[in-house]
């Protein structure tokens, strides 16, 4: 037992685990800061003034907000929690959550650095991310009745209570109070997600996934599983994907680059603070299906 605890596997597990947390930390802080400022200084009416009245038109507008949010997926979780507290519906908030990590300037820049500005992969990623986020938002909008059914009991209570706390005389106190609370909520779940992601990276042989790279449909599935397991930040995942570009089909690389920023072990764990597991499984299934179809379409176009 002691031998195992001091083994290279445990030591590498620790390095990857802490690596994920430390790498995500500044993005989480940025996201929480935006969320806290948003909560205290931005009135609900202000948001609705800038969003179209039509609930379907709101989807593309929210999905494009990511262009102004240079934060990876971890940083968007607190922002989405704030959107929900500001009475934005689950469908609309989810559309932002899924699109923002892909349509943000840092992700676009890093993808261009890895694959080139004129690369089809960059175009497929941006278009695919935009379309999937909007389709998922639309499906949630049409198929769900009440947000209460989708949110965890605790978080739904917070959503209901949030309006009573919005007006205070000490805005600085309110901001830091939200900041510290969001940090505990999000970071706690982030640690659990990072723990699982690091464990799977060390103790589950990766070649089980990559050996199926030669089969076109299976290669798409393999890269999606890889994206889920590896939980790499959207801002740099293009470099990771590039190292598989020679062995995997273009479609599978595009599926990796769209599915990964939307759902992975780390994000799934963080979103458990907000959404019911049943809804998260439903959401993941739709995203997986659409990302898979995107991969197939890209392969067919080659």
């Amino acid at each position: 037992m002691l031998e195992f605890l001091v083994s290279n596997q445990v030591s590498d597990f620790k390095t990857i685990f802490v690596g994920i947390i430390v790498e995500s930390f500044p993005f989480i802080i940025l996201g929480i800061l935006v969320s806290a400022i948003f909560a205290v200084f931005v009135k609900d009416e202000f948001i609705y003034k800038f969003l179209p009245k039509n609930r379907f038109l709101k989807l593309p507008v929210l999905s494009l907000l990511g262009v102004f949010m240079p934060v990876c997926e971890c940083g968007n979780v607190p922002v989405v929690r704030r959107f929900l507290k500001k009475k934005l519906s689950v469908a609309h908030s989810v559309t932002f959550l899924l699109a923002a990590p892909i349509l943000n300037p840092i992700t676009i820049f890093s993808t261009s650095q890895a694959f080139g500005w004129d690369s089809e992969i960059l175009v497929y990623r941006i278009l695919g991310g935009f379309i999937i986020a909007n389709l998922v938002g639309l499906i949630v909008l049409i198929t769900t009745n009440s947000d209460e059914d989708l949110l965890t009991e605790d978080f739904y209570k917070e959503v209901c209570d949030s309006h009573h706390h919005d007006h205070s005389h000490d805005k600085l106190r309110d901001t830091v109070s939200i900041f510290i609370k969001e940090f505990n909520e999000v970071m706690g779940m982030m640690l659990i997600g990072a723990l699982i992601a690091a464990f799977t990276q060390i103790f589950i042989p990766r070649d089980i996934i990559t050996q199926i790279g030669t089969n076109l449909p299976l290669s798409i599935l393999a890269m999606m599983i890889m994206a889920f397991v590896v939980s790499i930040c959207a801002n740099v995942d293009a470099f990771f994907a590039l190292s598989y570009a020679n062995t995997f089909s273009k479609g599978s690389i595009v599926s990796f680059l769209t599915f990964g920023p939307m759902v992975d072990i780390k994000i799934f764990s963080m979103l458990k603070t907000t959404f019911k597991i049943k809804f998260l499984v439903y959401l993941t299934s739709i995203i997986a299906l659409l990302s898979f179809i995107l991969g197939i379409l890209v392969n067919l176009l080659q």
Partner: protein, 233 residues
């Protein structure tokens, strides 16, 4: 009471932990240096927020107890057991990415190649060069001085080991291994898995597994500590 303390102080404690990692050079083991400034700035900003929390006597009574304690437990475990560079355990897992070339991550310029200026080449630079050259034979007998760690597995023939390092783009999660085979000799006999070595020798092209592969023949070999920045950027 404990819940309140843990949740209220988890942010400043974690921020101090990040600054501690930076001061101890351990941040290099976790993330690419280009992210250091962003990470440290976030930690300093969080400390400022924390000081306002303490000054204003803000208490987080709402979060779950597990959250603040998880942060604390993580920090204690890392402080007690320490961190080390990624090693053979991860390399074995990521063999499918071994020596995969990503052009943007080689420091070598066309001038260096043109002038045969190989002195400062790292394992990643050599790997890149092998992938672009049309004439591998031209580097036969080329002198090299390289640092890396000892790696071997069932896929490497018994008479060789691999001098290896990791290349990172962002953090330990995306680290990809690079390596060159080294001919085993008496000089290398006392070293094993994960030992860091500095090797002086020359390159030789050999037919291994029915393909041309580059092998280092050792002139001098010495054990070294893992560098402060063990990954190639």
């Amino acid at each position: 009471m404990i819940k309140r303390i843990l949740n209220t102080y988890s942010l400043p404690v974690f921020s101090i932990f990040v600054i501690y990692l930076w001061r101890m050079n351990d941040l290099n083991l976790l993330i690419h240096p280009r992210y250091h400034l962003f990470t440290i700035s976030s930690a300093i900003f969080s400390l400022i927020v924390s000081s306002i929390v303490i000054y204003k006597r803000v208490k987080d009574n709402q979060s779950e107890i597990t959250n603040g304690s998880l942060v604390l437990v993580t920090i204690i475990i890392v402080l007690i057991s320490g961190l080390s560079p990624l090693s053979s355990a991860v390399l074995g897992q990521r063999n499918d990415q071994l020596n995969v070339v990503i052009n943007s991550q080689s420091d070598i310029s066309n001038n260096q190649i043109f002038e045969n200026n190989f002195d400062s080449f790292s394992l990643a630079d050599w790997n890149y060069y092998f992938s672009i050259t049309n004439n591998l034979e031209s580097i036969n007998n080329q002198k090299v001085i390289l640092e890396g760690f000892f790696y071997e597995d069932e896929f490497i023939l018994d008479e060789y080991f691999q001098l290896s390092r990791f290349v990172i783009s962002c953090c330990a999660v995306d680290a990809r291994p690079v390596g060159i085979l080294v001919q085993k000799s008496e000089l290398s006999s006392e070293y094993g898995l994960d030992d860091w070595l500095k090797i002086e020798g020359w390159l030789e092209i050999r037919d291994i597994d029915s393909r041309d592969q580059v092998v280092i023949i050792v002139d001098e070999l010495k054990s070294i500590n893992a560098p402060d920045n063990p990954y190639i950027e």
